[in-house]
């Protein structure tokens, strides 16, 4: 299970290095969720590397429900609250003092935060608007753009996590259970991991036209190998269990053995992994938009707002600072949620570290 270490060379235990007796090193690096290495997204997931020395929250007495146990964890509480607030804000954006985030008014360009001003649309309609966070160089309301931008970020985060999990689970189950497929699938996964994730996404989006679907796919594909490896390693350990052998002996069809007897063992680590994938995806989407290779510039996303504001960053830092802070805060919340889930749901992981 030292696979994450071997990085990109080989995913099977064929790695001579890791058999060679690096026992001590590899044990400490024996996370449930493999390292996000090849992905290249700035939100690495080395959280999973740490053998959580403190090992909190796992000593809850028996009989306490999982939900209660989760809620006791501060990181989970914080992450879940921030995320819930953000989802609510994004969903209720039209009623939270926003105007159409694409409306342009050159006369109200670069207003400082907290200004109230007359807004005149290009059509000639005028109305009074309070610019809570100021406006950008085209006079668009920053607060509205950020709130609507949250929709894109959250959609991409959730979409990428679900897609990467779905495909990763399928490939991991197939590779772990059907010996003949194992070599082929894992070799391809090694290849995908060897391409730095952001470059992969940039290339794919450049070739296909940028749209929400393309971006979700482009960010999800580099995440798939880690999910597949995780599922595969669970399958490889669980398939030797007597109850699985019993099910096989009773002529249970393979799909049923996999979904009913094997996959449930992977649910906790998959939820944790999914959270980290989500955090990384939100970050990568913002980076792609910022670089000008993500969502089309007219669509408000946090990265697009920052890309637009960066030319006049020194005079009017608000267009870069506010979305940047919100983005960091969101990713931090999701990462902390993942850490909290890991500490609570994955006691095996904790014991190993302690």
């Amino acid at each position: 299970m030292s696979e994450p270490l071997s990085g990109l060379t080989t995913s099977q235990s064929a790695s001579p290095v890791l058999q060679g007796g690096v026992k001590r090193g590899s044990r400490s690096l024996e996370p449930k969720a493999p390292l996000k290495g090849g992905g290249g997204a700035p939100a690495g997931r080395p959280e999973s590397f740490t053998p959580n020395i403190e090992s909190p929250a796992t000593t809850a007495p028996r009989g306490v429900s999982t939900a209660r146990r989760l809620w006791r964890n501060g990181a989970v509480r914080f992450g879940a609250c921030v995320l819930a607030l953000l989802v609510a804000g994004a969903a209720a954006a039209p009623w939270l003092g926003t105007i159409d985030p694409t409306l342009i008014d050159p006369a109200s360009a670069n207003l400082p935060p907290g200004t109230s001003a007359e807004f005149m649309t290009l059509g000639g309609d005028t109305f009074q608007h309070w610019f809570a966070l100021g406006s950008d160089s085209l006079g668009r309301d920053l607060w509205s753009r950020m709130l609507y931008g949250a929709r894109v970020s959250l959609a991409v985060g959730a979409g990428v996590a679900l897609l990467a999990l779905a495909i990763g689970i399928l490939l991991g189950l197939a590779a772990g259970y059907f010996r003949r497929l194992d070599g082929v699938i894992m070799r391809i996964m090694d290849g995908v991991m060897a391409i730095p994730g952001i470059l992969f996404a940039i290339t794919l989006i450049a070739v296909w036209q940028p749209s929400l679907a393309t971006i979700v796919i482009a960010i999800a594909v580099p995440e798939i190998p880690r999910v597949a490896r995780l599922v595969r390693s669970v399958v490889l350990t669980i398939r030797e269990e007597p109850y699985v052998e019993a099910a096989v002996a009773l002529d249970t069809p393979a799909w049923k053995v996999l979904t009913r007897h094997i996959l449930p063992n992977a649910i906790a680590p998959l939820i944790i992994q999914g959270t980290y994938v989500c955090a990384a995806a939100i970050l990568v989407e913002a980076i792609l938009s910022f670089l000008g290779v993500g969502m089309p510039p007219e669509i408000p996303t946090w990265g697009n707002i920052m890309a637009e504001g960066r030319t006049q960053f020194t005079q009017y830092p608000q267009s870069v600072l506010f979305p940047g802070l919100l983005l960091s805060f969101t990713v931090l919340a999701v990462n902390l949620l993942g850490d909290g889930l890991r500490d609570t749901l994955d006691p095996k992981f904790n014991k190993r570290g302690g």
């Binding site: 270490l5 990085g7 290095v17 090193g25 060897a194 952001i198 290339t203 794919l204 450049a206 070739v207």
Partner: protein
């Protein structure tokens, strides 16, 4: 030792082939006719036909891949559509800033992260440990470009000590080179630092629980010796490994950092290529970075022998 290197090299080959295949397929499986996309909207049918023949797009896909791989093996990455130069020479022109930035970042990070990680593991639960762990969670959450702008704003603009943007060639003097790269390298190192410090801490903490540490202490050798000679050297393999794996983060970060600091390196070339839809150039750069990444990790694997004498092949 030699057989090990040979086996490792052989294991790298299929990875490289699959990387090449993926990069190849990404541009060939695009919706629409790649030849038409490549020549742009205003091209005539005859031009499209010409490009198609030129690129061998009229051949069956597997044959195209074999031909393309053959060219790549000879270092022939194709020709840029707009810059009228070969992809390989473009990469060659732009590699110095990127290499400088990456090298400086790696040196800076390793010099900071390893001692910090060791100290955190030594006094684990202490203030340094907690500070480092908080820092690493933050480091993974704050995007590189936000860090970059904060540094430009807080350091370069407020104090005026360092240049805001741009790059000075190493040939024009070490000092300007260093001052131009100081902030970009610091920006880029944050996430890498978070990763390496975290793994160092975990690996050293694990090593410190071993019996030989107790023996070493009982022998009465200095605590520094215990940490460096016994704990750190036994934790070296995972640390070197993550330094190699983290290069992927670095490559993604280079693209972003070069944009923020207006450094004319490979990252900017990538963005230019994407914005002008210069497919051969995009393909070439992606392949180049991936091969570098694979090779670095191959070297990391090979270096295990130096760090752990128990590894014999």
């Amino acid at each position: 030792m030699l057989t090990f290197l040979l086996r490792r090299t052989l294991a790298t080959v299929p990875v490289l082939v699959i990387v090449a295949l993926i990069v190849f397929l990404m541009t060939r499986l695009a919706p629409g006719d790649p030849a038409a996309i490549m020549v742009g909207d205003s091209a005539s049918l005859a031009q499209i036909e010409q490009v198609r023949a030129q690129l061998g797009l009229d051949q069956p896909l597997p044959l195209q891949f074999v031909q393309w791989s053959g060219q790549v093996l000879q270092g022939e990455l194709g020709k840029s559509l707009f810059l009228n130069q070969s992809v390989a020479s473009l990469i060659g022109q732009r590699i110095e800033p990127t290499l400088s930035l990456a090298a400086l970042t790696i040196v800076l990070t390793v010099l900071l992260a390893v001692p910090l990680g060791v100290l955190a593991a030594w006094r684990h639960g202490g203030w340094l440990d907690r500070a480092l762990m908080s820092f690493s969670v933050l480091g993974f959450s704050i995007p590189t470009f936000v860090i970059g702008y904060l540094l430009i704003w807080g350091v370069a603009l407020k104090t005026g000590w360092l240049p805001v943007q741009g790059y000075a060639r190493l040939a024009d003097g070490v000092l300007p080179w260093l001052t131009h790269l100081a902030l970009p390298a610091l920006t880029l190192s944050i996430i890498y630092l978070a990763l390496i410090a975290r793994v160092t801490r975990a690996a050293v903490a694990e090593a410190l629980t071993e019996d030989y540490i107790r023996t070493a202490r009982a022998k009465g050798i200095s605590e520094r010796q215990v940490l460096v000679r016994h704990a750190l050297s036994n934790a070296a393999v995972p640390i070197v490994t993550v330094i190699g794996i983290g290069v992927a983060l670095l490559i993604g970060g280079v693209v972003v950092t070069e944009t923020v600091f207006a450094i004319p390196g490979l990252g900017q070339l990538t963005i230019d290529a994407v914005l002008s839809r210069d497919y051969p150039l995009i393909q070439g750069i992606t392949l180049f970075f991936s091969i570098i990444y694979v090779l670095i990790n191959f070297l990391v694997d090979a270096s295990y022998v130096l760090f752990d004498p128990r590894i014999r092949y």
